[in-house]
């Protein structure tokens, strides 16, 4: 085995010498030889890894020793192959093999020796256990990477090569100083000798080594050259570089950093890592060109290296996390760089396979099931255990990284690259999935799903039924476009399944996994929307990432159990995540864009079904506060106020919307506000009202979005001005929409009335009169948009474009019918729900006093402030409606039908056709009254906030000045400052 391992290191070196001679004489043979060498190396390292038992990720610090110098340890110079390093070696070989075809390309065989030497240098660094071997391989690597950078690409490659050369030169000098000092003071050259130094030498060694590692791994503040390097070099080189040398360097850091004397105080690494993460990533947000963000992302992983060493001490765990974290990011970056078009130079990636790119982006920011996800989770868990306060900056930094990497996906869209260029990236994705599988198998004991037991059974059942029924209701509609675009149906299906994952999750990790998959599957489904789909999906993704990291924070603080979500700090994060995810308090910026752009069925799923998963999570958190005096009260009250103001604001914005989908989106935001009000009351009645309204919202919102999906499917018009008068063309859609609208307007006899009645009872019962007053106002405004929706789409004059429109397809109509039946059941037999829900809530809160005078008697609900017999009310309304209808039919004036063109202009010049449409600026008079609102608008506040963050990013970017000498000065300054700070520390 030692022979195999030794062979796997030096094989590429031999290959480099031979190909150097062959390259001119027999270029094809040289290329074949290079590929054969790399393939053989891949097999050999995989063999070494399996001999060391590395594939199950247990015991990764197990090692074999390859003696390379004379003598016996500790005097000999040895290479040590740990099981973890052998896994990384597999990645290095794989990356080198997959990128070789593109790097060599047409007539580039002279680059073969460089690629092969880089593999040897990387492996050497990976296995080196003494300072001098490290130095030798470091130098080989530097020389090769400078040569590679200069050998192909645009004019910027010279700048990149010069900057790398400057940094490498300085690092060499610093490294040799360390070697001299360590040898002089300990008489040894092994890496472990670093820790045996004392006094002044220990301080100098620590600072110099820290500077070397941080500069080479591109950690903040020494990141400038690295970002420029990634930006300047030819993308396939960047792919090779990040998958081999950069990866080996990170692993070398994992080996060296814990040995430094400064490691005795892990707070230093923690501060450097966390601070650097935030500072570098805020600058990453400012990036617009595609290669540069990936450079900044590398810097994020360098900061994670420092954090890893600060928080993880078990050598097995350290290696496992390092392999997953850095191996995963290396493969993802490799895949992304390989996607760059053949002629791309930094700023332009003309052709890039978007489909593969998004998976690689997800792998890079660490979404399940990719390896980076599992490693980040485990690292952050350690952090939560030892120093929870550190989670704040670290999660913020990771979020910032996610934003700009996601934007990288959203902005640069394009066709597929040339056929052969896709394969390396595809295989990279496969490699990532395989790594994710290994990690998931390792983490499996921490994940569990079973019947939910944390919320009352009937309530859980209601949510479970909603998730299943919602998925069943929207999927037929998604299949309508199967032939044109199967993608959004598949993503929708995944989102629906993962919603059940949230429902059945019984451990924190499984909950978070399901949450993230659900969110990002929905993002992908939204991105398939025709109208600005990708851009809206980016907004969605950014907000989803934000709420995702909040949920992660909550899960980490809860100690990994669902029950722990009720601990106060955790529930605070959950509440914030839910506010964002439900589009409350200004976070509607994402939801309105997403609902507007998504394919119709996806909007229906998001608004109708997916949002219920969010509410379910909030209940999981809030339920832990039940019975705690004081705090629950305040948090709930804040939630209630947020909810009620969002209900009002959302209703106003819905009324002023110009497209039906936007109107429904705002109305969704508004309606979910009521749910927050109910839950925030933290009383049995409030929760009952909230659950009742949740079910009701599920029913009517799904009907409405499916109805509009049908209208848009048939007419293709997005604006109210394209629609109108469809009542006769789409009678069933109209009927179902009408029922849903009446229901949510909250007028008798349909279910919305019951929901509001319960809510007001709850508000009054809890003595929250101001809340009740604002909620009433919001309900009144809801009439405005209810009418607008019905009128704009179905009433008025039929546009001449829509003369030949047919009824919506059955796949959309049938689910609406079933859901409308549900509305009727809720409307006329609410007691079916309430008679089980109320006792459960009373029991949950252990607080029957508040239900004084509240009882259910047959069809009637008796409350402290009145009683409600849904059946009787319903019959009464139908009777009155019938009488009025007959009276109007018999005695009223006969209607006159007018066409869209029956308009007199009185000699005036007619304005554009949309402006004479009846629906154009329907509520302009209200808009004028509310003219002060836009200046308070969420868009404006958000833009201001973004400019603030960008300003912070610019502060950091001063460091990345582009001047190579400045980068050298940074290193020297870092050393001087570090020396001054550490000098005198014990």
């Amino acid at each position: 085995m030692v022979t195999i391992a030794a062979f796997s290191i030096f094989l590429p070196l031999a290959g480099a010498f031979i190909t150097a001679f062959l390259a001119k004489a027999a270029p094809r043979a040289a290329e074949l030889l290079g590929k054969a060498v790399l393939a053989a190396g891949l097999v050999l390292t995989a063999k070494v890894a399996s001999n060391l038992g590395a594939w199950d990720l247990w015991g990764l610090s197990q090692a074999i020793l390859i003696p390379t110098g004379v003598g016996i340890p500790p005097f000999s110079i040895d290479l040590v192959v740990t099981a973890g390093a052998s896994l990384v070696a597999v990645v290095i070989y794989g990356v080198a093999l997959l990128s070789l075809g593109r790097i060599v390309g047409e007539g580039g065989q002279k680059r073969l020796p460089l690629s092969l030497s880089l593999v040897t240098a990387s492996l050497g660094l990976l296995y080196a256990t003494d300072l001098f071997n490290s130095f030798v391989f470091l130098e080989i690597g530097s020389i090769v990477t400078i040569g590679l950078a200069a050998s192909r690409g645009g004019p910027r490659r010279w700048e990149a090569a010069v900057k790398l050369a400057l940094i490498s030169g300085l690092v060499t000098i610093l490294f040799l100083i360390v070697v001299a000092l360590v040898y002089r003071s300990t008489g040894e050259l092994r890496l472990v000798a670093l820790g045996r130094t004392g006094g002044l030498v220990a301080v100098v060694t620590s600072v110099l080594m820290l500077a070397i590692i941080m500069a080479e791994t591109k950690a903040f503040p020494l990141l400038g050259w690295g970002v420029d390097y990634y930006h300047g070099i030819w993308p396939p080189f960047a792919a090779l570089y990040s998958g081999t040398w950069s990866l080996a360097m990170l692993l070398w850091g994992v080996k060296v950093l814990p040995l430094l004397p400064v490691a005795q105080d892990p707070r230093i690494y923690a501060w450097l890592g966390a601070g650097g993460l935030v500072a570098s990533q805020v600058a990453g947000l400012r990036q617009r060109s595609p290669s540069r963000p990936l450079g900044y992302s590398t810097s994020a992983f360098a900061s994670l290296l420092l954090l890893l060493v600060a928080f993880v001490y078990d050598p097995d765990q350290l290696l496992r996390l390092a392999v997953l974290l850095f191996g995963g990011q290396a493969l993802a970056k490799f895949g992304l760089f390989m996607l760059a078009g053949r002629e791309a130079h930094g700023d332009r990636w003309e052709k890039a396979g978007a489909r593969w790119r998004v998976l690689l982006v997800f792998a890079l920011i660490g979404l399940p099931p990719f390896p980076v996800f599992w490693a980040k989770f485990e690292l952050l868990s350690e952090m939560a255990r030892f120093w929870p306060a550190m989670l704040g900056p670290v999660l913020l930094g990771l979020f910032l990284e996610a934003v700009y990497v996601l934007r990288f996906w959203a902005q640069r869209s394009g066709g597929e690259p040339e056929g052969d260029a896709l394969w390396p990236s595809r295989l990279g994705v496969l490699g990532l999935l395989a790594g994710g599988y290994l990690a998931a198998r390792f983490m499996w004991p921490d994940m569990s799903w079973s019947m939910p037991a944390y919320l009352p059974p009937f309530m859980s059942l209601i949510f479970g039924v909603m998730f299943v029924a919602g998925a069943v209701a929207v999927l037929p509609g998604a299949l309508l476009r199967w032939r044109q675009d199967a993608g959004h149906g598949l993503w929708l299906g995944l989102a629906a399944v993962s919603l059940l994952g949230i429902f059945f999750a019984t451990s924190g990790l499984s909950l978070y996994v399901a949450w993230e998959i659900s969110a990002f599957a929905s993002v992908m489904a939204v991105s398939k929307g025709g109208f600005r789909g990708r851009g809206s999906a980016f907004w969605f993704a950014a907000f989803a990432a934000f709420s995702g990291y909040l949920v992660l924070g909550a899960v980490l603080l809860s100690g990994g159990s669902i029950r722990g979500l009720g601990l106060f700090p955790a529930v605070l994060l959950i509440a914030l995540a839910v506010v964002v995810k439900l589009g409350q308090a200004g976070a509607h910026l994402w939801s309105v864009r997403a609902y507007r752009s998504a394919p119709g069925t996806v909007s229906a799923f998001l608004a109708g079904v997916s949002s219920k998963g969010v509410i379910y999570l909030l209940m999981l958190g809030l339920v832990g506060l039940v019975g705690l005096p004081g705090k629950d009260h305040n948090l709930g009250l804040i939630l209630a106020w947020i909810g009620v103001f969002t209900a009002l604001g959302g209703a106003i914005l819905a009324s002023l919307s110009g497209t039906p989908k936007k109107l429904l989106a705002y109305s969704s935001v508004s309606q979910l506000g009521y749910v927050l009000v109910g839950l925030g009351l933290m009383t049995p009645l409030g929760w009952t009202a909230a659950v009742y309204h949740t079910v009701h919202h599920f029913l009517f919102k799904t009907v409405l979005f499916l109805g509009i999906a049908g209208v848009l499917y048939r007419t293709g018009g997005r604006f109210f001005t394209d629609l109108g008068g469809l009542i006769k063309k789409m009678p069933f859609t109209f009927l179902f929409t009408l029922i849903a609208v009446i229901s949510y307007a909250g007028v008798p006899p349909l279910a919305g009335f019951g929901g509001k009645w319960l809510l007001y009872q709850g508000l009054l019962d809890a003595g929250r009169l101001p809340l009740a007053a604002v909620a009433m106002c919001a309900s009144v405004v809801a009439f405005l948009y209810s009418f607008r929706l019905l009128h704009g789409v179905f009433l008025g004059q039929l546009s001449s474009k829509n003369k030949s429109v047919r009824e919506a397809p059955l796949a959309l109509i049938l689910p609406q019918f079933v859901l409308v039946c549900g509305i009727f059941v809720m409307s006329f037999r609410p007691t079916l729900f309430l008679e089980r829900l109320l006792p459960e809530m009373t029991q949950l809160f252990g607080w029957p006093m508040s239900l004084k005078g509240f009882s259910i008697n047959g069809f009637s609900v008796l409350g402290p402030f009145g009683h409600w017999n849904a059946w009787a009310v319903g019959m009464m309304v139908f009777l009155l409606f019938g009488v009025a209808f007959v009276f109007y039919w018999v005695s009223g004036p006969k209607p006159k039908h007018v066409g869209q063109l029956d308009i007199g202009y009185s000699g005036e010049l007619p304005p554009s056709p949309e402006e004479v449409h009846f629906s154009f600026e329907f509520y302009r008079h209200y808009e004028r009254a509310l003219v002060f609102l836009p200046s308070w608008g969420a868009e404006r506040i958000f833009a201001w906030f973004v400019s603030l963050v960008n300003g912070a990013g610019d502060l950091t970017r001063i460091l990345v000045s582009g001047d190579g000498r400045t980068y050298l000065i940074h290193i020297v300054l870092f050393v001087v400052c570090g020396f001054m700070l550490l000098w005198g520390m014990p």
Binding site: F135, E139, W158, K163, L166, A180, Y183, G962, R965
Partner: protein, 119 residues
Amino acid sequence: MSLSLVLLLSSMGLLLTGLVGIMAKKHLLRIALAFTLASTGVNILLVWTGYLAGRKAPIIDASIEEIATVAVVDPVPQALVLTSIVIGVAVSALLVVVAVLTSRELGTADVRRMRNLKW
């Protein structure tokens, strides 16, 4: 003044001169030269680590084989320096090549003017 001190002082002098040159000079070739100075300084530092007063070069032949452990200086730093010099030559050569090619491509050898990649 002992030889050890001379070695140490000269290495420090070369090192500092080199480092200042690296940061202060603008022309790529001058920077390359400064690197060479600094690496020479470091090499002397390495020699200093293994220097033992009054001993001979670690070339062990029949005449001193018996008393090698007390007669010669520590051979390890010497081996290090040898390797370091070889690598230094390679790096310097590469630096000069890069400097020449860069100035040919970009029309300047002034580092301050290579700032197209930034922020």
